[in-house]
Amino acid sequence: MIETHATTQEIHGHPALQHHFENMEQQREAGTIGMWVFLVTELMFFGGMFLAYALYRNLFPAAFASASNHLDITLGAVNTAVLIVSSFTMALAVYFTQIGKLRPQIICLVLTLVLGLTFLGIKAVEYHEKYTDRLIPGRLIPSAPFGPDAHALHLLPGATLPQVEMFYWIYFAMTGMHALHMIIGAGLLLFLIIYSVKGRFDPEYHGPVEIIGLYWHFVDIVWIFLFPLLYLLGRHFQH
């Protein structure tokens, strides 16, 4: 454990120090390790879907390329940029919290939240496109079962509609699960903003900002993998 300066505050106990911890250092360390362990769990959670993706991409390369070509690469790219910037503002928010600058800290948190919501908005637009193209797999939406115009899809040789449906099933499962994590992240950011405005965080106590930051970066990284796998691979088949 790293030796820290015993400030007067620490001797009397920081107001945010929970009763069962010895000091702030221990509390922060527990929070950070906890989040890392949680992220390992998340990795395994997404791992199951990545495995399914890898298996079926290998089995149905043509269908996956055809279906992938139909995704809106512009919106996907914009969303990638949005998330990368949001990761940057999140990192700044952590930094400003650590050095105790309240105003920039709040601004950065709000910016991150706005960018996160932008991502979700764009994602909603994309989902709606898929809905109008009748690309929602199965009978999840009973009024619009899967039934795209095969011509509009530009099916490559060897691709069949059931396989395209498989792609969209995996697409919705992965991006949907990712979007759910974004929504949870947005909720956590809202909590951080409220607490920041109340002035709860200071250089001694900034664990929550840090660990929610970790979570936010993780969700971004998942997207960094999803974007090429779902949108880009097989792009060169386009004609």
């Binding site: 009763h19 069962h20 527990a30 390992v40 769990t41 449906e165 498989m166």
Partner: protein, 554 residues
């Protein structure tokens, strides 16, 4: 909860975690790991009772070969629900969420787990998952087997698969949160002087268990979720109609569910390590080997899932690799058994109830583990898979192993948990009854299995009846044996003899505070200066069999 009082000895009024606060709210909103452990204890006992009733129904139905007591649809639901309740709602949380929750902070000298609120949340998550599952059972039940094999579960079953799946999915988070909490606690909350290699082996095995919980559970969570969505949408990745692979489900499912067996048995091994050392007043023989074998089991446990698919059209070479690894995972378990046995050498063994359970555990686990080799070996597995041999094998591990350890641990720490002693005579008697009943139930099933009786059969050819009659007779004894502790534990909460702080006279940290402990566990943070299981000063230690010039004369 009543304040402690006794008509025999007027106890000095001590503030402890039980009488520190009163009222339902103080329990439902508690952040004290000890109270949460008791909340878990109550709820898993409830689920164990339900699962036990299902077990009894199965055994009654199988008494005769015709399948005359229950209809086949009912029978299918009964065995499915027996499995789901017992595995997800009893065995997986059994030791970690009760004994682990109670003791991990106490054994490392901490005031609480690292995240007390998450700990409470995990109980509520467990409860929510349980309520949804109970709803599914009451609404009409589920008949897929606890394994939920596709495409039967996604397309063909006409039962409450989605609701049950949701219950299991939610319950999984409880397990993840518990595991996360344990890992962080063991890493960051150890008292001064409590180094990794001074930790009781109970903590090592819980650390290994937690690793499996956080790595495995999310995979089964996503698998069950995909299965539920597949059922709702009518298509999906396991559906052969889309070119999907139904066997993919089995891979994902067993990737969790095989390690889940170790979630059930590893904590039990931890308990047994405690019992063997403490009731023979001896340090564990080969401490570090026992500690690392827990981690080895956790790691290897993730590499053997394919042995459930030897006959499921897996490639021959994949089968060989998984067979090899399955044999490899048996070695750390063997090391544990040998070390426990060696610990008893030249020790001072008492015959208290917990020790009887520990000795029973070693015997039953040895047989359970060795019969696992029949299923790791390819050719015999082809004949034995999906027969009663498998049923007998995993009950030896899960009941003979996990449950024996749980009961042993519960007796051992009962004075600490409740502040009262259980009746020793009844304890020994019930341990004996359970041991006999258990063996009579499951030994005949090994033979029935090799003779070819398939599992999950509602009616069966008459030549297997003799084994089923024996089994049912054993199950009745087992059920009776289980009732005895249930009764005397409840009885002892009010009428049991008041327990001392350290009724067994042991060196462990959890015994160095009052019984029941105060809310903060220790008056002052302890400083640890002794090794685990240090009954005698270290300079008296006898060194045998080091790689050196001579092996010390025995």
């Amino acid at each position: 909860m009543q304040p402690i009082e006794s008509f025999e000895v007027p106890a000095p009024p001590k503030v402890n975690y039980i009488n520190a606060q009163y009222g339902l709210k103080s329990w439902l909103l508690t952040k004290d790991h000890k109270r949460i452990a008791l909340l878990y204890l109550g709820s898993i006992t409830f689920f164990f009772f339900i699962g036990g009733i299902y077990a009894l129904m199965i055994r009654l139905e199988l008494l005769t070969p015709q399948g005359d007591l229950l209809q086949s649809t009912t029978y299918n639901k009964v065995f499915t629900q027996h499995g789901i309740i017992m595995i997800f709602f009893f065995l997986i949380p059994s030791i970690p969420a009760t004994l682990g929750n109670f003791l991990i902070p106490m054994m490392i000298g901490a005031k609480d787990l690292a995240f007390p609120r998450i700990n409470l949340l995990s109980w509520y998550v467990y409860l929510l998952g349980g309520i949804i599952t109970i709803y599914a059972l009451l609404a009409g039940g589920v008949d897929t087997g606890w394994t939920f094999y596709t495409p039967f579960s996604t397309t063909f079953s006409n039962s409450y698969v989605v609701a049950t799946g949701l219950g299991i999915f939610i319950n999984g988070f409880s397990s993840i949160l518990t595991g996360l909490n344990f890992i962080v606690t063991i890493h960051t909350m150890r008292a001064p002087g409590m180094t990794w290699f001074r930790m009781p082996l109970f903590l090592w095995s819980h650390y290994a268990t937690s690793l499996i919980m956080i790595l495995g559970t999310p995979v089964v969570a996503i698998t069950i979720l995909l299965l539920a969505f597949e059922r709702l949408s009518g298509v999906g990745i396991f559906n052969p109609a889309l070119g999907g692979d139904p066997v993919l489900f089995q891979h994902l499912f067993w990737f969790y569910s095989h390690p889940a067996v170790y979630i059930m048995v590893l904590p039990s091994m931890g308990v047994v390590s405690e019992l063997i050392a403490n009731f023979s007043r001896k340090n564990i023989f080969g401490y570090s080997f026992v500690a690392f074998s827990s981690l080895a089991i956790a790691v290897f446990g993730f590499l053997v899932w394919g042995h459930h698919l030897f006959v499921a059209s897996q490639s021959v070479y994949a089968g060989m690799i998984f067979s090899f690894l399955s044999f490899a995972v048996a070695i750390p378990s063997a090391i544990k058994v040998f070390n426990w046995t060696a610990t008893l050498y030249k020790s001072s063994i008492s015959y208290d109830t917990p020790m009887l359970y520990a000795l029973g555990f070693i015997g039953l686990f040895t047989l359970g583990g060795m019969t696992g080799l029949f299923l790791a070996s390819l050719a015999t597995d082809v004949h034995l898979s999906d027969t009663y041999f498998v049923v007998a094998h995993f009950h030896y591990i899960m009941v003979g192993g996990a449950l024996m350890g749980y009961l042993g641990g519960l007796h051992y720490w009962w004075p600490k948990i409740s502040g009262r002693m259980y009746p020793e005579g009844w304890g020994r008697f019930s341990a004996l009854v359970i041991f006999v009943g258990f063996n009579l139930t499951f030994l005949p099933q090994f033979i029935a299995g090799y003779l070819g009786m398939p599992r999950r059969y509602h009616a069966y050819p008459p030549e297997f009846q003799v084994f089923n009659v024996l089994s049912t007779a054993g199950a009745s004894i087992l059920g009776f044996g289980m009732l005895i502790p249930a009764i005397y534990f409840v009885w002892s909460m009010r009428y049991g003899r008041i327990a001392e702080s350290n009724p067994w006279h042991l060196p462990g940290l959890e015994w160095r505070t009052q019984s029941p402990p105060p809310t903060e566990n220790f008056e002052v943070t302890p400083v640890v200066t002794w090794e685990a299981y240090e009954f005698a000063p270290p300079e008296e230690t006898e060194v045998v069999g080091k790689f050196g010039p001579e092996l010390e004369r025995i």
